[in-house]
Amino acid sequence: MLSKLNKFFSSIKLAIILFILIAAISIIGTVIDQGDTLAQYKIIYGDTVFHILYWLGFLNIYSSWYFIGLAVLLILTMITASANKLPKVIKNIIEPYTSFDNALKKNSYKAKYTTIQSSKSPSEILNIAEKTFAKKFGKPVLKNLDGNAGKNAVHNKNSSGNFLFFSKNSIFRISPNIAHFGVIVVLTGVFLGVALGYRSYTNIKVGQTVQHSYLLKNNNPVLLPFKIKLDNYATKYYKNGMPKAYISTLTIIKKHIAILTKSIRVNHPLTYDGITIYQASYGHYKPNAAQILVLNLKNKNKNNKRLIYAVPGKLYNSKISNIKFSFNFFKNPAKNQIPFYISIIKNNKTVTRPIVFQELPYRTKKGNMPLFFAKYNNNIAFVFAGIKTYYYSGVEITKNVDTYIVWIGSAILIFALFFSFFFNQKSLWIRVIPSEEKEKTNKIELLSVPNKKFASFYSMIDRLTEIFKKQI
């Protein structure tokens, strides 16, 4: 029973099936948008389809039970497959040799076996062989040049006879196991991170302090261990108006004490207390307001002006001769016309004609923006000094737990892949069987075994064998 289970879990066929299933499910996840709100899905798909998709788990497919289940199965198969192979691999590293005949029997499907005749003595032959094959196989692991030479050799023990045994790169046989170990480490880190950490976001208005953020996956609120105040938000622009940087200045507050203030921008987050805050988006939370400077032309005092942030269409009191006004945009402005105007309301009656602005020959000191000017009845004037935007900054707040496990696992995986791809084990037996009758030729047997069946391996062996033949 247990061995059946073991066999089932360690089969590469199962691994391939799991791989294909995981890939197929991932494709579904790219076709159906993930992570929208339920309300959005209802609008996109209609009620019936929505319910079916919801029931199938397609709307949050990467956290569905079957996707996670497949990942867990994959880990299990990897662990059992690696564990099953490990004893053999380790034995191969510590003691790569079996006997010549054993090696031939076990590797008949990929081994190359050749025999040559030579009249040279066994030790001479093997000395030449060692020199010839050392180029590709390194130093022989086992060597018996003249152990039992001359006597009737016993061939079924690996310590007797005249032979050489080369085994190169046998230590790298363990690389696939290490690669699997790397994948297991990565997935462990991922699971730990999902279980213990979170990814959330929140929008903070300039000047506001928050202590909650909302999970990306379901919008549930998370209580942060500290408060975050947004001191300022600014977008920096290139000369042509493309955004260059989005910068939020944040203060971390713990128990009413400001702990630190730092600017964050994309690629430059802030980490405090295991929690990282990233710049993610920005926007404005109120309609843009016009900065209108209202001037009392009759009053020559210093206090003759007031700054009003006027949201288009809303009524404001100028506090001058009962005049109320609103700031508006033309719906269809003519070409070259300044597209905004002031409406005047006096004694609750609208003065019909809109008061159009004119451009002044001055510019603002800050930002070098043009100034616009509109006048009513010689006693009140309005200067348009730009638009004020009430920004909020969208930040992503994540608690990344054990991310370093993922990076360590990745590093292990990549190194192990490198070694398992480019360092292949290869071994070579060379045995000389002395002729029983004197003065006859000796028989040389060559048995080379690659770890992978590569055409280049066999052609390399052929080449070396040719060189070897010429020398003996």
Binding site: I12, K13, A15, I16, F19, I20, I22, A23, S26, I27, G29, T30, Q34, G35, Y62, V190, R199, Y238, K239, N240, M242, P243, K244, A245, Y246, R265, V266, N267, P269, T276, Y278, Q279, A280, S281, Y282, E396, I397, T398, N400, T403, V406, W407, S410, L413, I414, L417, F418, F421, K452, F454, A455, S456
Partner: protein, 328 residues
Amino acid sequence: MIHMNASILDGSFYFTISLIMLIVSFIGYFIYIFTANKLVSTASFIVVAAAFALQTFAFIIRWRYSYQIGIYIPPLIDLYDSLVFFAYVILFGFILLKLFYNFNSLGFIMTFISICALGFATFYPLSTSAIEPYIIPALKSYWLLYHIISLFLAYGAFAAAFGIGILFLLKYNQLNVIKQNKNKKTDDKKNNLNAVKKIALIIFYPFTLLYKQFILLSPSIDILDEAIYKVVVFGFLFLSIGIVIGAAWADNAWGGYWSWDPKETWSLITWITYAVFIHARLTKGWNEKKMAWIAVIGFIVVICTYLGVDLLIPGLHSYISPGAAPIL
């Protein structure tokens, strides 16, 4: 209206010239298949090498230009950049394969893929060679360079594996046909071909000749099989490195190493496809032919990841409209 990227200033002119050179070498390789003339293949290879050198020069021009206008990041960020780089990497791979394996018959497939990428870069209206003097903030990172170079080395390798895979399948089929013909020789004498088949045979005779010539010129199946494997594992290694770098970068820029963004997901699917390839070799009953098929299908997955996701599904990685997404 035909739009063409060919400006001396940003280097695209030289890429366009190299496109013409590649078309010439493609024709050369095509003739080579008909004639098996060594001279033609050598000449074609020299043209390919020259085109590669010209592209190297063009990249240097482009890189210098982007520094001159104040972007301190190599020009590898938009669709045009990525397509020409793809063409470049494929040529690089072909040159290596030609030097190591003497793969002349691969020339016509590899130059073809490279021509497609370069042609797309040059004529597709949404791919413009102009380098804007600004880049969106998220791309201002050196992770980007290593991320893209690793992935494109992988893509180039997978393209090569695709080409060799096709050679393999053609050759494999041809060998099977020859084997079957040998077995059938005796009862073939009855000659029960109908008229339509006969006419078809006559019409397609030059093509069958071409096909046979082609098969003769390509290396043996064993060598092809080994080359596919080696090229794929090279690609797999760099795909893994590229994905890990991308994850590290995302962690740095967006607060999570993995967001199941369509491009990320498709790169995982690509990775899985080639992981299946690597393991398939270890499974008894999966012969070399299946491996060649996975190499061919794998490249289709690569193209889905590389272009399909951009053109069909918007996401964090879109080349087409940088800055349009609400995410910075």
